[in-house]
């Protein structure tokens, strides 16, 4: 028999009995970050490929959501901070070793970039738009001459942002479930599939819808592949990581993970999309909505389960 107790008593709020310092804010922040990354990635990609008129929603329309998504995401992060009046300290330091610092800075870079991108396309929404001031018109013309270069920046920044939403977790070796670098590509994929789903929902063109249904299908395939590798890696590792994998393989998070993330968020939308591509009449919003829900749930479950997983000594 072995019994371990805190004989002095210990009940630090939010730390004991199990860590619960991150609530809904962090998963919402990461989901919105991933979604913004997904939308910007496709906008930049199809601009660079010269398909902006063919895939107009992706390149010109959907990016209008991004500044709002990012601001709400940053708002969620801000709400999470418990010492809010000092939040500006994030921007007086650059700490390359700290993923939180990376996130703050990449958002600082990508938010203005997304606003510039919207400015390029504002006449798609408001055909009579007039910038009024000469300076702004000149600035827009100047930036427009570098549009493709900006698209390249946006592409790279979107990938960094997408990967960051996973790396924020994997940098913590104290939480064995998170401590695997596969979360970087996995959450990038989750963000891309959410972005593709939003473009699909907004698009009016059949051709574009078809393309993004296909993209979603491929990305879901990649996600499933990465999830298998996540578990293979954890199960082949040390005891604490085996315990972490068990949270999803019989432990308290099994049902929510497999039902919401894998079945509802990946398998069912994939099946519906395959049927749709084969010509079946399926309301397109169902798979797209499920993908978004799955992506959000993925982050919630990972945030909570990760805090549950720990070293034992």
């Amino acid at each position: 028999m072995k019994e371990e107790i805190f004989s002095s008593g210990r009940m630090n709020p939010m730390i004991d009995p199990t860590l619960h310092i991150w609530h809904w804010h962090i998963p919402v922040y990461l989901f919105l970050g991933g979604l913004a990354a997904g939308i910007l990635f496709f906008a930049a990609l199809y601009h660079i490929l010269g398909k902006e008129n063919e895939y107009k929603t992706a390149v010109k329309i959907a990016p209008f959501l991004v500044p709002f998504i990012l601001v709400i995401g940053l708002g969620a992060l801000f709400l999470d901070l418990s010492h809010k009046i000092y939040f500006w300290r994030l921007y007086t330091t650059i700490r390359l070793e700290s993923p939180m610092s990376w996130g703050a800075w990449i958002l600082m870079f990508i938010t203005p970039l997304s606003i510039i991108w919207c400015a390029f396309n504002i006449r798609e929404l408001f055909p009579k738009w007039d910038w009024k001031f000469k300076v702004v018109i000149r600035l827009e013309e100047f930036l427009r001459s570098y549009k493709t270069l900006l698209a390249w920046f946006m592409l790279v920044a979107a990938v960094i942002l997408g990967v960051y939403t996973g790396i924020l977790f994997s940098a913590f070796n104290a939480r064995p479930l998170w401590n695997t670098s596969i979360l970087g590509p996995l959450f990038l994929a989750s963000g891309l599939s959410a972005g593709a789903a939003v473009i699909f929902l907004m698009s009016r063109s059949h051709k574009e819808k078809l393309l993004f249904a296909k993209i979603d299908l491929i990305v879901i395939g990649v996600e499933l592949f990465l999830i298998v590798h996540l578990f293979m890696g954890l199960l082949a590792s040390t005891q604490v990581q085996i315990d972490a994998a068990m949270l999803f393989l019989g432990g308290p998070y099994t049902a929510s993970f497999w039902i919401f993330v894998v079945i509802l968020g990946m398998l069912i939308p994939a099946i519906l999309e395959i049927l749709e591509l084969r010509g079946a009449k399926i309301p397109g919003f169902i798979p797209a909505f499920l993908v978004l829900l799955g992506s959000l749930m993925f982050r919630f479950i990972f945030t909570y389960a990760g805090q549950f997983s720990s070293w034992t000594y």
Binding site: K2, F6, S8, P13, F172, W311
Partner: protein
């Protein structure tokens, strides 16, 4: 300079005096603690083995909390003591999540708080509150870089362990066995 602490698990009776001394000395908010006693009982009566450990922040030499902090609020001070500067801390919780020992907590005022090895006392030539109050004198504190300091000597002659060294944090709390 490398400050460290050694705790004799053979002498500790688990009285929790160190916990109360810390709460008093450091004005720890009610309901929180910076140090705590873990009592491990193994075996079946009457063959029992008991270990009492007075635990706190390990002032890790390679500390994930300092690495993860986006603002530099968590930092290494003199002698490798890990401290938090409240006026730099934004309360993001990254350091709390990154500590394998769950040694930190969010202070009700918003910033993150934890054991400081009583650096303010140590600078005045005193011992940390927990060390000086211990009725069994089971704790040793000092500079590992000084070969004949009390702590260097005790670590030379006694068998000891650190907690989860495999987490790669290089903890500086030594438990004498």
């Amino acid at each position: 300079m490398r400050y460290a602490m050694a705790i004799d698990t053979k002498k500790c009776v688990g009285c929790s005096d160190c916990v109360v001394a810390c709460q008093t000395e450091n004005n720890v908010p009610i309901g929180y603690c910076r140090d705590w006693i873990v009592e491990i009982t193994e075996g079946v009566y009457p063959e029992l083995r008991l270990e009492n450990r007075s635990e706190r922040c390990n002032h890790c030499e390679s500390s994930p909390c300092v690495r993860c902090c986006p603002t530099g609020a968590s930092h290494y001070a003199e002698g490798g003591v890990v401290l938090v500067t409240p006026e730099k801390c934004i309360g993001c919780g990254a350091c709390i999540t990154s500590c394998p020992y769950d040694a930190r907590y969010p202070h009700p005022d918003g910033y993150v708080d934890k054991c400081t090895f009583c650096l303010h006392r140590v600078k005045d030539g005193l011992k940390p509150a927990c060390v000086s109050v211990c009725p069994t004198k089971c704790m040793y504190f000092g500079d590992l870089d000084v070969p004949n300091s009390e702590i260097s000597k005790i670590l030379k002659i006694r068998k000891y362990k650190t907690l989860i060294p495999e987490a790669g944090t290089k903890p500086q709390l030594y438990f004498l066995e």
